[in-house]
Amino acid sequence: MAEEVILLDFWPSPFGMRVRIALAEKGVAYDYKEEDLKSKSPLLLEMNPVHKKIPVLIHNGKPVCESLIAVQYIDEVWPDKSPLMPSDPYRRSQARFWADYVDKKIYDLGRKIWSTKGEEQEAAKEEFVESLKLLEGELGDKPFFGGEAFGFVDVALVPYYSWFHAYETCGGFSIEAECPKIVAWAKRCSLLDSVSKSLPDPKKVHGFVLELKKRYGVE
């Protein structure tokens, strides 16, 4: 049967970017469908009735929801090219732990940076930098979180690199100054086609954030 792969996505979504990167790493051709989140398509509502969120990977008509679940699925269905999860059980557990850590921290803290001000924003900036420093510790001297090769945790985190400029401008700080190793790692990842083709222009992301701020009445 011919493979049919569709991705329901929204261009600035770091979660969507994860799936784009995984598909690109595996060399899988797919149909990208841009969703208007203010007016969700019937297909999105049908394929993700529980959360009604993007990204949704649709493989031969069957939906896979939640970005890290979709990335693991892609890794398991197309195992021959560019394996993203390590094969050793302990290293796999560490990859899952750190990807989960990224999920628990980065999005929410980043959101607080652009959508709040004063003390709340300062606290968010501090915690955000702390979280990145912890990740720097985990990265150590390795080129990628996955070791010599780009892997699962790299896929989980690198999309946020396209949001760094927006966070920095809204928050009035430099992520590179605070966490140079993370920025060096992100630049290294950006040399990969799968990453450079999946991440939007940081200036476009910043423009999008400014629109959101207007919409939510954040000055």
């Binding site: 529980v50 493989h59 069957k62 896979v64 929801c65 939640e66 679940i69 979709a70 693991q72 699925y73 398991e76 269905v77 059980p89 302990y90 796999r92 557990s93 899952r96 732990f97 989960d100 850590y101 912890l134």
Partner: protein, 233 residues
């Protein structure tokens, strides 16, 4: 390949999340030392083994820590592949489905259950209870589709999703008892109601599922501690 080594689990008997790796280890027939944490005081070993979150459960396999209950369950499945049944399904799509519902349970359904205790006033309580019931209804539907007539989400044997949901049954029963409601109602969620009985009777589960009365006593204790804590005026 799993290295032979000591297996220890840092946990506490009332924690539903601690139950998860215990069931996984039982399914695999792996012997382990259970290190019970004292309530209200975290051990040095816990703080050293889980410096990021400082939470239980933590599995220590040959002194290497694995944290986060569902990460531990998957690790146990990976590390002892030829012992006992497979915990995760073998088909990638079935695996994605199991992971999806486990994430739903942890991110949406369990918080809705703890939301009941936090709800202030009759209306808020009713809304919170309705949310939990709605979630159960979704899970009932999922059970029908996933089990395909077999006894468990995992098929013939207890699997990943059974463990994810089943470990919350103790606290669900405490919630029912303390609010005088039936949430796991055979009339509304017949599939889940029967599944719950089978799950609790399973050999891998029996010994680690706390008694509802004991849990209810413990719940009263923690709630009393919260109420006793000074609140800002």
């Amino acid at each position: 390949m799993a290295k032979d080594g000591d297996v220890k689990l840092i946990g506490a008997w009332p924690s539903p999340f601690v139950m998860r790796p215990r069931i996984a280890l039982n399914l695999k027939g792996v012997e382990y030392e259970f290190l019970e944490e004292k309530f209200g005081a975290k051990s040095d070993l816990l703080l050293r083994s889980n410096p990021v979150h400082k939470k239980i459960p933590v599995l220590l396999h040959a002194d290497r820590p694995v944290c986060e209950s569902l990460v531990i369950v998957q690790y146990v499945d990976d590390a002892w592949p030829s012992s006992g049944p497979s915990i995760l399904p073998s088909d990638p799509y079935d695996r994605a489905t199991a992971r999806f519902w486990a994430a739903y349970i942890d991110e949406k359904w369990f918080p809705s259950m703890t939301g009941i205790a936090k709800a202030q006033g009759e209306e808020a309580k009713k809304a919170a209870l309705d949310q939990v019931a709605e979630g159960l209804s979704l899970l009932e539907d999922a059970f029908g589709k996933i089990s395909k007539g077999k006894p468990f989400f995992g098929g013939d044997t207890v699997g990943f999703l059974d463990i994810a949901l089943g470990c919350l049954l103790g606290w669900l029963r405490v919630t029912e008892k303390m609010n005088g409601v039936k949430l796991l109602d055979e009339a509304k969620v017949p599939g889940l109601a029967k599944w719950a009985e089978r799950f609790c009777a399973d050999d891998a589960v029996k010994g680690v599922m706390p008694e509802t009365d004991k849990l209810a006593e413990f719940a009263k204790l923690i709630m009393a501690k919260f109420k006793a804590a000074p609140s800002p005026q």
